[in-house]
């Protein structure tokens, strides 16, 4: 059984489009995260939600908007995609807080043309 899943795994799209990446965890965790991995494999946290409530919102463009319909899901919607948005996006979850062990999803490779 997959603990943290993301869809799609690969996403190729044109500049200016709007796209969403979905994340689901079946671990019963209260907290979920979105990370962006850049070309040098550095990870940057983007957002964190605890039980559907936003608790971390790093400096990311307003074009990125997380949506948490319930505590098992944290979706990432991106408006007006730009070339620089091309990256791998990871979803993760933890029992409650960011200090704890995090379970990472498989990542979504986004390529903006």
């Amino acid at each position: 059984d997959t603990a943290v899943s993301q869809t799609p795994k690969y996403l190729v799209t044109q500049m200016g489009n709007d796209k969403s990446i979905k994340c689901e965890q079946n671990l019963g965790h209260d907290t979920m995260y979105w990370y962006k991995q850049d070309s040098k494999k550095f990870l940057k946290i983007m957002f964190s939600y605890n039980n559907k409530e936003l608790i971390i919102n790093e400096t990311v463009p307003n074009r990125f908007s997380p949506k948490s319909p319930d505590k098992a899901h944290l979706n990432l919607h991106i408006n007006s995609l730009e070339l620089g948005d091309s990256a791998v996006y990871f979803c993760a979850s933890s029992v409650e807080s960011i200090e704890e062990t995090q379970y990472f999803g498989p990542g979504t490779r986004l390529l903006v043309l």
């Binding site: 990870l43 946290i45 993760a92 807080s97 960011i98 990472f104």
Partner: protein, 112 residues
């Protein structure tokens, strides 16, 4: 199925001693391995990496060892310092993908 495993969720070490964090992987096609360090309320930051053509990489107090036959890597921190207290993630990738596959992390606590 977890392809990258860190079987010890936590480790406690005295200041000045060696910390050894372990990581096992199942896919022999992985050819690049990384260690990330994560402080509370922050995302993971890159610490050190190793390519599969090497069996050791050293950077200051941090050394990563790779045993390909055992599909095992370890991170050694010598000497350990209180500021090293954090969660350490092991990650792996292969030539067929630029994605990282993460372990679940090991919490290191260095006490005086």
């Amino acid at each position: 199925d977890q392809q990258v495993k860190q079987n010890s969720p936590s480790l406690s070490v005295q200041e000045g001693r060696i910390s050894i964090l372990n990581c096992d992987y199942t896919n022999s096609m992985f050819d690049y391995f990384l260690w990330y360090k994560k402080y509370p309320a922050e995302g993971p930051t890159f610490l050190i990496s190793i390519s599969s053509i090497k069996d050791k990489n050293e950077d200051g107090r941090f050394t990563v060892f790779l045993n390909k036959s055992a599909k095992h890597l370890s991170l050694h921190i010598v000497p350990s310092q209180p500021g090293d207290s954090a969660v350490y993630f092991c990650a792996a990738s292969g030539v067929w993908t630029d994605k990282l596959i993460f372990g679940t992390g090991t919490r290191l606590q260095v006490f005086p």
